[in-house]
Amino acid sequence: MNHLLARFGTPLAGLALFLVFALASDNFFTLANQLTILRQVSFLLILAVGFTFALIAAELDLSFGSVASLAGVVTGGLVHFGYPIVPAILAGLVTATAFGLVNGLLVTVAKIPSLIATLATGSIATGLAFAATNGVAWVGRWDPSFVWLGRGRLLGLPVLIVWSLLTVALAWFVVGQTRFGVWLTATGEADEAARLAGVAVRRMKVWALTLSGLCAGVAAVLLTAALSSAAPTSADDFLMSGIAAVLLGMTMFTPGKANVPGTAVGALMITVLSNGLVLLGAPYFVQDIALGVIILLSVALSASTLKKAAFGL
């Protein structure tokens, strides 16, 4: 019983939260609102999945918000100034992935702790985004085929939901069903044992941080399309909620360990909380307090893994 509660207690609490909102607000449990929640969670979900890869390998990526902002500026800038869409998207993805790769090399080759390395590269990404834009967002009525990536519909569903579900499904498969996932998990859980077992531990860490960068790039392209604008700090605010989603995810399914389904449920809980509080008419500061409480509780429940990632303890 205790084992079940440990694995499913947090999602049950999330379900209870969902039910409370459904009972307290007439507008919460409507199809339109549920689709709105699933659409809104997309960016957070994709970024948090990237952070999950890093944390599975026992590394932190604190640059993903800034890197996503920079990638958004690259893609948005190219679209804004009339370049073809496909190269513009690829440029954003390559930029973010390159930052992830550099993070990985800084951690494994230069031996800089990921906490510090990614803070530094995040700062560099922010600087580059401001240098490119002079702080002014590029805004416009852009090519509809690009904007469709963030605002369109596919099979009747908002297309953002499709992208985020694909990302989660792919990440879940990679971590849970492939040898790569086993190596990644082994690297994070006991790197010395993994190394002795023949796992290329350093390469796994580089991969983990590179995948985090790639996810930042994907989120950046979608965010830029959805907002039809590229600002130098457009994705920075996802850092805190992204970390919160992953930490919350670590309290469920495989408690104490970063896991993709947990991250997905964690991100969903944060978005449901934000949406539900607005529908109940709660003032803005209640949301900030609620997010803070979630982080505290989830850190309390998953402190050991976080300590290992942050400080190597």
Binding site: A24, T30, R39, A137, L227, S228, D237, V278
Partner: protein, 317 residues
């Protein structure tokens, strides 16, 4: 662990029921401020909330904290909440085009304040920023007798401050005895105070003893510059510091002989908030046609120059 989860559950239930129980069957107004940490955004949003509550309306007041994705999500959430009307203070209508269109299609009337026009909003409450910009620029040049050196602290990320800057450029283009020694453009919105402090500190250091006047695109920037100048021993009028917005702290500084802030153009933010609520009442509640109340996409309000000669009128006893 079980206790913690129990607490989460109980807390969520209590929070939901407490907030839900507080709502009565009245007019529901959603209010979104783009960046509540900016005084002017907060002044508009709080004035809207106060005026609405005075009418007995339910108010949901949200802060996008300067985040565009959060701003979009909040408009969407209030649309789903089926509020009866929505006021957006210092919003981003171009970026939020899809969200505002969805709100309009859901039958939610939107009034924006200092945001710029949108085809999906009833109207935008504004001051004539071109006039405001010209008033501030000409006052500064007048104080310098149309010659000397100035520094600029700009902000291009907001339509109002951007217009003010462009009007300053136009005024300077026709008065070339006034030279711009340096310009800093505030870029960050979340940590803008640090940005302004660092940028202006560098400009003052580079141009020590050569600066006759400083133009700031809004008062929040001017406070930081004033503090920097005061710490360096500058006195009122040397250099002349002029900005735009108005408010109790600005008036206090203009009246203070130890402050370098010389003048502002006072924008009636509280009046704008009250006007938003009053007009929503007339249009949405009483059913009066918008065309008869607001001529076009903008409702323009008056802004007045405040300097030491008339600041006494603005200081509350």
């Amino acid at each position: 662990m079980r206790v913690v989860r129990g607490m989460v559950l109980a807390g969520a239930a209590a929070l939901g029921l407490a907030v839900g129980a507080g709502k009565a069957m009245a007019f529901d107004l959603g209010v979104i401020a783009f960046q509540m940490s900016s005084e002017t955004h907060a002044r508009v949003a709080n004035a809207v909330a106060e005026a609405a509550k005075a009418k007995g309306w339910n108010v949901t007041l949200l802060n996008s904290a300067g985040s565009m994705p959060e701003h979009a999500a909040q408009i969407e959430n209030l649309t789903q909440a089926k509020v009866d009307a929505l006021v957006i203070a210092m919003g981003k209508p171009i970026e939020m085009d899809a969200q505002m269109q969805a709100a309009k299609e859901a039958g939610i009337p939107i009034v924006t304040v200092m945001s710029g026009a949108s085809p999906h909003a009833l109207f935008d409450i504004q001051v004539n920023e071109y006039q405001v910009g010209a008033t501030a620029a000409l006052y500064l040049l007048g104080q310098l007798r149309y010659q000397g050196n100035i520094l600029e602290e700009r902000f291009e990320g907001n339509v109002g401050t951007r217009i003010r800057g462009r009007i300053l450029d136009a005024v300077l283009a026709e008065n070339q005895a006034v030279k711009v020694l340096g310009t800093h453009s505030m870029a960050r919105t979340a940590s803008w105070r640090d940005d302004v402090r660092a940028g202006m500190e560098a400009l003052l250091l580079q141009n020590q003893g050569k600066v006759d006047g400083i133009w700031a695109s809004f008062d929040g920037q001017a406070y930081i510059i004033d503090d920097l100048l005061s710490a360096q021993g500058a006195t009122k009028g040397d250099p002349v510091l002029v900005s735009i917005d108005g408010g109790p702290e600005t008036y206090r500084r203009i009246a203070d002989p130890n402050s370098t802030l010389m003048a502002t153009v006072a924008i009636p933010f509280e009046d704008m908030g009250e006007a938003a609520v009053d007009l929503i009442d007339r249009i949405v509640v009483q059913g009066q046609p918008v065309e008869g109340l607001v001529p076009g996409p903008y409702l323009l309000m008056d802004a007045e120059l405040v300097d030491p000669s008339n600041v006494g009128d603005y200081l509350k006893p």
